[in-house]
């Protein structure tokens, strides 16, 4: 059995070195590629990502160093000469079971503290509430208006003119404000998104805010967060919803609360 392995060993080393250099060069130029951060909890997600990147990066490089070094170093001659007989080492195996377990459990613990803050903390009663109703392939945005209550919706009433089937006989629906694809939220103020869908599953994805939650027909999902940056951002659909999935685009506008309130009054008057 003749196998010329010198070249293969060398190629493994070359591939690894070039790959790592290109990766580091790219990372230095682009960070990991995150969009500018615009929410409070997003900072935690980004740091957890970076911590995981550093830990896994070290593991990646160490294991690959061993792999390519062994590939390069331990080439057989094919003459039947013997390798080093080493079938077992309980101690070693226990060490490399325990160490990954400890590292991984610490990542879980840190992650869960943050997860709890994002999802298990009740939004304050005076949070700014907006409803997003997904539809092939637009986002219906609704504000409760001055009364702070959403009017009742009835699917039977849905039509082109009444996209979510708002019930006009419900007094709470009188001052509801409906918009298309435009989500305006206040700066530095807790926001509560109530997310629904009329047809198939969509997913509300606000990449700058590190926010994502599916819009599931038949139920209301929620996500609460606090915007920390003024400006205009993207509202993206992240769950396959049909042929227009790729162009189901909305906008997020973050502005100070007083400006937003004025704007809401204007919208109310226009309706």
């Amino acid at each position: 059995m003749k196998t010329s392995g010198r070249l293969d060993g060398l190629l493994f080393v070359l591939f690894f070195v070039i790959g790592v250099v290109v990766c580091i060069w790219y990372l230095v130029g682009h960070d990991p590629g995150f969009l500018p951060l615009a929410s409070e909890h997003g900072g935690f997600i980004d740091s957890l990502f970076m911590a995981t990147l550093i830990i896994t990066g070290i593991v990646f490089i160490l294991t690959h160093l061993l792999l390519v070094y062994f590939a390069f170093r331990y080439k057989g001659s094919g003459n039947g000469d013997k390798a080093f007989w080493y079938p077992d080492n309980k101690k070693l195996e226990i060490i490399w079971t325990v160490i990954p377990a400890v590292i991984i459990i610490s990542l879980i613990v840190v992650g869960q503290v943050g997860w709890g803050k994002i999802f298990h903390t009740e939004p304050p009663d005076d949070a700014f509430v907006v409803e997003i109703v997904g539809e092939q392939f637009v986002w219906n945005i609704r504000y409760p208006g001055e009364d702070g209550e959403f009017g009742r919706t009835i699917p039977e009433l849905i039509s082109r003119a009444n996209p979510i089937g708002l019930d006009p006989t419900d007094p709470a629906s009188e001052d509801d404000i409906m918009l298309l694809n435009e989500l305006r939220i206040p700066l530095d103020y807790p926001v509560l998104l109530k997310i629904r869908s009329k047809d198939v599953i969509h997913s509300v994805f606000l990449p700058n805010f590190r926010v994502k939650m599916d819009a599931v027909p038949g139920m209301t999902t929620t996500f609460s967060f606090t915007p920390t940056m003024e400006g205009e951002f993207d509202l993206v659909c992240a769950e396959l919803c049909g042929l227009g999935h790729y162009r189901m685009r909305g906008y997020v506008v973050v502005q100070p609360m007083d400006e937003l309130e004025e704007w809401l009054i204007e919208q109310r008057e226009m309706e």
Binding site: G5, A83, F84, P87, I104, E135, K198, R210, P217, C237
Partner: protein, 595 residues
């Protein structure tokens, strides 16, 4: 050897087989394994073709590609692929690769080919059911292939077929006849897989030759055995789900569809179902499925590395224990696909724990492979190269799993290209490398001839580098938040910045895909013109290399089935004369032991 087996053996010797009984409705596990392999290879070519279509569309959206119209007809009128059919191609790519290539290509091929040969059996426990298993798979293949040609196009709700999209033809055309055929085909596939799983389990438990204790089985057999148990427990759940979805589609039940849906300007009359229910059912199957695919690949990797590094597999018992641990955990992690699905976030916390724990046995596997290579005498066969490539891909894809499994990070990365990169490394490419490693390594036993070493190595290097060039950049797209399953990245500024990268990935895909021609020529060419193989070309220690002929006939051993005296990896033992000792070698055992 049992008397039944002896009589089977005699039967075969005296009965001259016709072409049909030998090559088509064969009972021989080796022929059935090869049938699975060839069918999976054909499916792999189709699946790869679909990925080319997707990649060309993503790199050059909106441009006329005349060949699209030639190949895809009405799905790409004027050379522009319509968005609904892009999604259909994507759905079929995923379905074909997961079920028909990786599942059938690994479990079907190597489960069948290797189990009896490596445990010392004449054939599977139930050869007839084994034959039926392949032909049910074939039928599933035909139905899936037919769905390309129905009026409304093939299924287009993703390989995960989430309802309501998959249930309503008014939501996307593919959810008409295409999705129904898809569900039917998957149901048939599941039946085939259950036939196979039962057979593998019974064969491993009952038909081991004398001396072949569980603790002496090669890792390939262990891996397929565990994968078969996973299949037996996971696939029926999907079968139930598929039937429920079919009922929703055709008999107006409402398992998965809630009240008040308004689709295509019409209010639907469903009420009471939940789309989340399907996700639980699907992923209760779907996550073990990942390991039904991955475990056999890891088993092949272990065997090939031990053989070609000329060392006993380091920590043989730990390798089995880690397979068992991964298999067990795989049943309680499905919720990690649903962190932002609307599932209760508290439930998410539980799934984080179980999910990330899988990293521990996976890490053990990697460290044990590396230690097996340490101070080895590595023989660079193409099989060995693919096994070592698998180790690298498994590390890369495994580590990115630690990002996705930690729920807060998943909020950002869920359904982005980071996920696409992750599963293509750890499930797609790693399992594919398992198939390649297996084919190169056992080709001499399958066809009695050798594949070309040099072309095998060229194939490896083009494929290995190609895989990294295609999928590694996708991590960066994912962290930026580029969503998956998009027809084009033209609608958002932040996705447009990756135009150049997408073009690069597409070119890499085309080249890597084209490089597979090298494999095909090598494979089919060597079948007829390859150098004649010796019985044991790799000087391996396991049973399949002890057959009388390089390419054993039905019944595997001409004489008695050999007795086994030792473990599967006695390489470079200090007391051996050569650098390997066959499992059948009785040196050092007293006469009493031999009897």
């Amino acid at each position: 050897m049992s008397s039944e087996q002896a009589s089977l053996h005699v039967d075969i010797e005296h009965h001259k087989e016709s072409f049909i009984s030998k090559y088509i409705f064969s009972y021989d596990h080796k022929m059935i394994g090869k049938q699975y392999m060839i069918t999976a290879l054909i499916w792999a070519l189709i699946g790869m073709g679909l990925s080319w279509v997707m990649r060309i569309q993503l790199a050059y959206p909106g441009q006329q590609i005349p060949i699209f119209e030639t190949l895809l007809g009405r799905y790409a009128e004027g050379g522009i692929l319509a968005p609904e059919y892009y999604i259909a191609m994507m759905t079929m790519h995923g379905t074909i690769m997961v079920f028909f290539v990786l599942t059938a290509g690994l479990v079907g091929t190597f489960g069948n080919f290797l189990i009896p040969l490596q445990i010392g059996a004449r054939d599977m426990a139930f050869p007839l059911i084994n034959m039926l298993s392949y032909w049910t798979f074939f039928l599933a293949s035909v139905v899936m292939l037919l769905s390309f040609f129905v009026e409304s196009g093939p299924a287009a709700a993703g390989w995960t077929a989430y309802p309501p999209l998959s249930a309503l033809s008014s939501a996307i055309p593919g959810s008409g006849a295409g999705q129904s055929l898809w569900l039917l085909s998957i149901a048939l596939f599941i039946v085939s897989s259950l036939f196979g799983s039962l057979n593998y389990i019974v064969t491993v438990l009952n038909l081991r030759t004398k001396g072949m204790t569980l603790g002496r089985m090669p890792l390939t057999v262990w891996a397929v055995f565990i994968a078969a148990i996973l299949g037996l427990l996971a696939f029926p759940v999907l079968l139930a789900g598929a039937i429920m979805l079919l009922l929703d589609k055709h008999l107006a039940t409402s398992f998965f569809i809630p009240a008040g849906l308004y689709v295509g300007d019409a209010l639907l009359s469903y009420e009471g179902g939940s789309p989340i229910l399907w996700q639980h059912i699907f992923w209760f199957f779907g996550h073990p499925e990942v390991y039904i695919v991955a475990l056999p690949a890891l088993g092949i990797c272990s065997e090939v590395i031990a053989t070609c590094a000329r060392k006993p597999l380091f920590g043989y018992k730990a390798m089995i224990a880690s397979l068992l641990a991964i298999a067990f955990l795989s049943f309680i992690v499905w919720g990690h696909h649903m962190f932002v699905s609307g599932m209760n976030p508290f439930l998410g916390s539980v799934f984080v724990l179980t999910t990330i724990l899988i990293a521990v046995p996976s890490a053990v596997k990697v460290f044990n492979w590396l230690t097996t290579l340490w101070r080895g005498k590595i023989h660079y066969t193409p099989g060995m190269l693919f096994a070592m490539g698998l180790v690298s891909l498994f590390i890369t894809g495994g580590l990115t799993g630690i990002f996705l499994g930690n729920a807060p990070i998943d909020i950002q990365l869920h359904d982005t290209y980071f996920v696409v990169a992750h599963f293509h490394f750890v499930m797609g490419a790693a399992a594919l490398f398992g198939i390649f490693a297996g084919i190169y390594h056992w080709f001499p036993k399958m066809y009695g001839r050798m594949m070309s070493n040099m072309w095998g190595r060229i194939h490896f290097w083009l494929t290995f580098v190609g895989i990294y060039l295609i999928f590694f950049p996708m991590h960066f797209m994912g962290t930026t938040g580029v969503p998956r399953r998009y027809y084009a990245f033209t609608e958002f500024e932040y996705t447009m910045q990756y135009g150049g990268m997408n073009e690069f990935i597409t070119i890499a895909t085309l080249i890597t895909g084209a490089a597979q021609v090298i494999f095909l020529v090598n494979f089919f060419g060597s079948m007829f013109f390859g150098k004649k193989a010796e019985t044991n070309p790799w000087k391996a220690a396991t049973l399949e290399w002890t057959t009388d002929d390089p390419m054993p006939g039905h019944g595997n051993w001409k004489g008695e089935i050999p007795t086994v005296y030792r473990g599967p990896h006695e390489y470079s033992t200090p007391d051996g004369k050569e650098d390997f000792i066959l499992q059948t070698d009785s040196t050092g055992f007293g006469k009493m032991d031999k009897e």
